[in-house]
């Protein structure tokens, strides 16, 4: 009895279940229907002469199109970068204990979300007509330096500024939602350690909020990529959409050039999605156990790590 392992014979290996799986004919039928529909769409695209696939190939990597792609990328990246910084400031202002800050932020978001982006871009185009000069100095007093608005706010800068200011209003709400999603106990613990508010925001709250902020911001970035086609309102005429339209009109063949633009927008979106995947994985650290796993195992791991269930693995291996 004192050495229970010595005399014990190994238990017989339990016989595993090898059952016949259930058949699902509906799955096969629905899959077949979808495949046929997809083939019909592909056929319609390839066989219709209007698409002029040879023209598409000819212009896909042509110089004006490539220049348009790079300008579209510049507009997207620059305006999103400015918008993100501004959005964090606006979101923090919305949560400020200073009522003036809260009110100003609210009015900003109200105005820039409430007016069309096309109108705003056109306005920034006219800014140099409305205000000929910009000056730095004492408010309502003498000016120290004066700039010519048309030089400072050229078409490129007006386009970037217009896109950024509009986007910041939307992103501010996304950031605010992210900040609100962080458990109050987090800033409480940081305060108890003697951290000051700014540090708490930067080191504790914002990194956790990013987990909530990144997915909708990725959405906004992809949306921005295509919104850049509206900079014609400024007017800014170097972006991808203007480039394709110019060629299409010249050739009297708009459709192949639209396809060229669509391919480029899709390609860039795909690259952005890859970037978003890695950003999400980075900010999910500590939450998603590093490598995001799919399916039931990943979900169960998340449930276990949340420690909200009494028994850590009551469902492990159970298949409904």
């Amino acid at each position: 009895m004192t050495t229970p392992t010595a005399a014990k014979t190994p238990a017989p290996e339990p016989q595993r279940i090898h059952a016949i799986p259930v058949r699902y004919p509906g799955r096969w039928i629905s899959a077949a229907v979808v495949v046929v529909l997809a083939a019909m769409v592909a056929n319609a695209l390839i066989t219709n002469d209007v698409f002029q696939w040879s023209t598409v190939g000819e212009y896909l990597f042509s110089a004006p199109i490539l220049r348009g792609v790079s300008w579209t990328l510049i507009l997207t990246v620059a305006s999103m970068a400015i918008a993100i910084v501004l959005a964090v400031v606006l979101a923090v202002m919305r949560r400020s204990s200073n009522p003036v800050m809260r009110y100003v932020s609210w009015v900003y978001i109200w105005f820039f979300r409430g007016t069309p982006i096309y109108t705003q871009l056109a306005f920034w185009g006219y800014a140099s007509v409305i205000y000929h000069n910009l000056s730095l100095g004492i408010p309502f007093g003498p000016a120290f330096v004066t700039f010519d608005t048309a030089v400072v706010l050229n078409a490129t800068r007006a386009a970037i500024l217009g896109l950024a200011l509009n986007e910041a209003a939307y992103l501010a709400e996304i950031v605010r939602a992210g900040l609100q999603s962080v458990d109050r106990g987090q800033s409480e613990a940081a305060r108890a350690l003697g951290m000051k508010d700014g540090r708490i925001l930067w080191r504790v709250v914002l990194p956790q909020a990013m987990r909530v902020i990144v997915p909708p911001t990725g959405n906004e970035t992809i949306s921005m990529l295509k919104t850049t086609s509206l900079v014609l309102a400024v007017p800014f005429i170097l972006d991808l959409n203007y480039a394709q339209a110019a060629i299409g009109n010249r050739l009297f063949q708009p459709v192949p050039l639209l396809v060229v633009a669509a391919i480029w927008y899709l390609a860039i979106t795909s690259i952005l999605m890859v970037g978003q995947f890695y950003l999400e994985r980075y900010y999910g650290r500590g939450f998603d156990e590093h490598v995001p796993r799919r399916g039931r195992r990943g979900r169960q791991a998340a449930i276990n790590s949340a420690h909200t269930t009494a028994d850590p693995s009551p469902l492990d291996g159970v298949t409904p």
Binding site: D183, G185, Q186, E188, A189, A190, R191, A192, L193, G194, M195, K196, D197, R199, R203, V204, P207, Q208, Y283, R285, G286, F287, E289, S305, A306, H307, A310
Partner: protein, 263 residues
């Protein structure tokens, strides 16, 4: 005036009141915690014991009375204006300095989930005290070893058990080298089999001479390490004294009633 007084008790609460709107949750709490002692606060839920603890660390603002830590008034500065004695509210930065001397351990751990155990412990020394990262890392790993987690340095909180998380939280608070440690029901969120490892760390800490105030329901722990037991009910201290008095021979009927339920 604001200098620390080495002869003053570690913590002194005098006539502390706290209101949440119309809800009068603390009704004149008086408490003295001498240096190097362990005070265990018992009481039914809603008695205000957690609130009192949070007031000491200024996570809650008090409505009346005063709290001193090492003789220093918490949250305010005494002064005179036009010949009258007045209180000046401290700037949040000064309050942060006062808080840094007091370590706090929460019921729900509140570890930073996006940082590893090591980074959690390093965070405050680097960000608040300006300790170099290398030095903070060394101290943090020593502290994690002290709480028995030297093999968990690079684990994220989600990869640790509740007991391990709470031990990291204790190490995180200790990293600021506090003069006083507050524990707000540190074992209440733990599975029963994990309570022991956290209490063990706390017991070691008490033996090392740390001044501690512990809000808990663990009567056994109180018996073992408490120099003073405080029983609170309805926002006030009903009874206080050594274990032999408050737990073994309570005189107040409310204390007797409570102990009859938990023992």
């Amino acid at each position: 005036m604001s200098a620390l007084d080495p002869d003053a008790p570690m913590v002194e609460l005098a006539g502390v009141h706290k209101w949440y709107g119309d809800n009068h949750v603390l009704r004149g709490v008086d408490l003295v915690v001498p240096r190097g002692t362990v005070t265990v606060v018992l009481g039914p839920s809603g008695s205000g014991k957690s609130t009192a603890l949070r007031c000491i660390n200024q996570l809650e603002e008090i409505g009346a009375g005063c709290i001193r830590v090492e003789g220093e008034l918490q949250g305010y500065r005494e002064g005179t204006r036009r010949g009258e004695d007045v209180l000046y509210r401290l700037h949040p930065k000064q309050i942060a300095v006062q808080r840094a001397r007091v370590g706090m351990v929460f019921q729900r751990f509140n570890l930073f989930p996006h940082m590893t155990a090591l980074a959690n412990v390093m965070e405050a020394p680097v960000q608040v005290l300006g300790v170099s990262k290398a030095e903070a890392r060394e101290r943090a790993s020593a502290l994690l070893e002290r709480v028995g987690l030297s093999d968990r340095l690079d684990h994220y909180p989600s990869q640790l058990s509740g007991g391990q998380q709470q031990r990291v939280a204790i190490a995180r608070a200790l990293a600021m080298e506090p003069d006083l440690m507050l524990f707000d029901e540190p074992t209440s969120a733990l599975d029963p089999e994990l309570v022991g490892e956290v209490l063990g760390v706390m017991r070691d800490l008490a033996t090392s001479g740390m001044t501690m105030i512990v809000v808990t329901h663990e009567i056994g722990f109180a018996r073992e390490v408490a120099d003073q037991v405080v029983f609170m009910a309805d926002g006030a201290v009903v009874e206080h004294g050594p274990v032999s008095q408050v737990i073994d021979a309570p005189t107040e009927p409310r204390t007797q009633d409570f102990l009859a339920h938990v023992l």
